[in-house]
Symmetry: C2
Subunit: 430 residues, 2 copies
């Protein structure tokens, strides 16, 4: 077992670069990348880092040359032979050869494209521009690099035993969460915490603790490298970037209204079973469900990633019933800002009514709240999003206006096209 | 830094025997051994293990063959060259060549004598018989072996992460104690926890945590091997076995009454400064001080190891004043069943009035109370004592009748000779 405290104390770039592999990323990135590679390979996109927690002044905390060093290291990575073999040969979601040969060949030759980095007002402006399938692969490593450099900056200067006790406290906290979750008899929960993890070693520890503590209730991790190394399931489906970019590419309001469904039509062609999970909130869940084509009702489930999760699930249940589907056969995956309390509440409310599953992110892999002075290790809300596609701005509305993105006039147009009315704002913690 | 949880999980006899060196023992054992080697080399003694916590049924918990294996391993140990060099060349208590050449030569050839082991009523009867200087060296390793085998028995079958969290909790607890102790500005405290430690690796961790957390307030460890390896002071003076054996050897009541002072007269010849610490409670502190020769009042200090510690210190202060000594120049070492609360209270009461120092034992190196079901790792009161010398039983009265030892008629005789009246019983936890 890795002695995290000592490794953190001794941090050595050669032993512990932050991102150590191209597949130290979320599984859904690979699925989406393959889909993009097939359906929209020539789209030019810009991804940009956005720190929603402006009071965390990253550029004051993190040394620019250290950041460049880590980002340059990410650019030096390529798929290793073992990783390629695993992706080609492993069974994902019960399916062999999930990744097609042409995609794998492209991926084997992939190096991440250049980045653009500037300091602006205490923050880093970090952007990536280029072909969509390449640029999109920056999202997770960019976030992980910034999150971990921030952790390292705060930990620097702590004593060896002080550090070990810090990790002891964090381990105890996670374990107490696991002990509570163990009580939920039919729980199904996965790690979704790569992007905003405290650090790689720490995520790896958390995943293994979940594995030991929860047994079969732990369904897997979104992190491909950890899934491969620990021989557990890689988990994930698709994300907002698909409807956001498809929508930006739409040439008319009519096309825009159809774009989110076009994403899922493309997905429908490629995937079945537990990969047919819709993510309905990009432009408001209510309107999305109302206007959804009938074939979507036959999909396996839904992922609730913004807004009040219970309301979201209730709406989905009602919608399935309206479309003549049996909700008890449907999968509802909660993945927004979860912690044990919310998991327990949602499980109690929905277990038996639907198949419930949880994608637990930041408060699994980065819960150091209250453990250092001034709460310097508290997680914060950093994202890396597609902000334009072929020169047109992207828009996200979400079910929480605090998660909305895009130019004001475009937000207004999207609200009109998707018929989004009043929304309830919710704090975005992570 | 050692990953204790993994080592515990993987326990492998070759990597982690319980006692790994002849100097994995208390420093005062070596000082006393040298004294015995010089003054009473031909005394035959019997040492015996006594489990005062009879509800901990050691013979049910610990496998006899594992116990024999560990004890046999101790018998296979001899002083290594590096250890010998350290003992010969190091400065102890500011003095070079603390250990004389004839003693070192003897020690370099020492192998521990045979043991006698039997199961009786759920306990192990473990005795050692032979020449005093050889047999006395069994005390600490015998205790450490039994304590750690009991820990290992309880930990067996725990998962890797469960174990790591157990140690995380224990580390957090120790660190919180250290954080409280750090507040005591002029604190002086040493580790006295070898004999009843949870395990060797754990003691080593605790000592290093004290070193980092307390800095100069941490004055050293009683454990010679750890002192050597971690380059810190080895701490200790003398113990009850000296007056107990000297007293058993006395041929008359008059000689008996003088025996405890004879011990200190021999000590006086050999040592000065901070090694002149009297341990007055073997046959009752009150009478000991009353009848003490005047030269003893000039000694550097006193160790309070039974009875109410505040009362013991007050009595010593009064006695010093009566003998015309300035108590503020005297050292009072508290060493009985300490934990942070008592340390804080005693510090608050005596700091400034005397020089206060603490020898912190079991609740430093073995505080796993409440961390496993049925409190299976709670420390318990195991001792290994001289029970006879040249065929005569030894007696200890102590300031706490629950710590008394010896045949009833001999106890009565000692009480008469030493004028011990009513005593207050105190629970013996550790």
């Amino acid at each position: 077992m890795v002695d995290i405290a000592s490794r953190v104390y001794n941090h050595n770039f050669k032993i512990d670069p932050i991102v150590r592999s191209l597949i130290d990323t979320d599984f859904y990135k690979l699925l989406m990348c393959q889909s993009v590679f097939r359906n929209k390979p020539d789209t030019t996109v810009v991804f940009s880092l956005i720190n929603r927690s402006t009071k965390v002044r990253l550029a004051d905390l993190i040394d620019e040359s250290e950041l460049r060093e880590q980002l340059d290291h990410v650019r030096s990575l390529s798929l290793s032979r073992g990783e390629s073999t695993w992706l080609r040969g492993n069974t994902f979601y019960g399916k062999r050869q999930m990744f097609r040969s042409d995609f794998m060949q492209w991926f084997e030759n992939l190096r991440l494209p250049p980045y653009h980095l500037e300091k602006v007002d205490g923050q880093y402006e970090l952007t990536f521009e280029g072909a969509w399938p390449e640029v999109m692969m920056w999202e997770i490593p960019a976030l992980a690099v910034l999150m971990e450099l921030r952790s390292r900056a705060v930990l620097k200067g702590m004593g060896r035993f002080e550090l070990q006790v810090l990790y002891a406290r964090a381990m105890t906290r996670i374990w107490e969460k696991i002990e509570r979750l163990r009580q939920l008899e039919h729980l199904r929960i996965a790690d979704f915490g790569t992007r905003r993890r405290h650090g790689f070693l720490w995520q790896d520890w958390c995943v293994q603790a979940m594995q030991e503590g929860l047994g079969r209730k732990f369904t897997g991790t979104s992190n491909c490298r950890i899934a491969m190394r620990r021989d557990i399931e890689a988990i994930g489906t698709n994300a907002h970037e698909l409807p956001m970019v498809y929508s930006a590419l739409a040439d008319s309001d009519a096309e825009l209204a159809q774009a989110p469904y076009q994403v899922l039509a493309d997905w429908h062609e490629e995937h079945d079973g537990n990969l047919r999970i819709m993510l309905p909130d990009t432009y408001g869940t209510e309107g999305f469900l109302k206007r959804a084509p009938d074939w979507l009702a036959s999909w396996t489930g839904i992922r609730i990633d913004s807004g009040d999760p219970a309301t979201g699930a209730e709406n989905a249940i009602r919608w399935w019933k309206e479309r003549g589907e049996d909700p008890s056969k449907k999968l509802v995956i909660f993945s927004d800002g979860l912690d044990v309390d919310t998991i327990e509440q949602l499980y109690a409310r929905f277990h038996g009514r639907v198949k419930v599953s949880f994608g637990w992110g930041t408060l699994l892999t980065n819960d150091f709240r209250g453990l250092v002075p001034e709460d310097g290790l508290a997680p914060f809300s950093l994202v890396c999003k597609a902000i334009s596609a072929n020169g047109r701005p992207t828009v996200k509305l979400s079910d929480n206006p605090n998660k909305a993105m895009g130019p004001a006039d475009e937000i207004a147009r999207y609200k009109r096209v998707f018929g989004v009315g009043d929304q309830t704002a919710r704090d975005v913690v992570v």
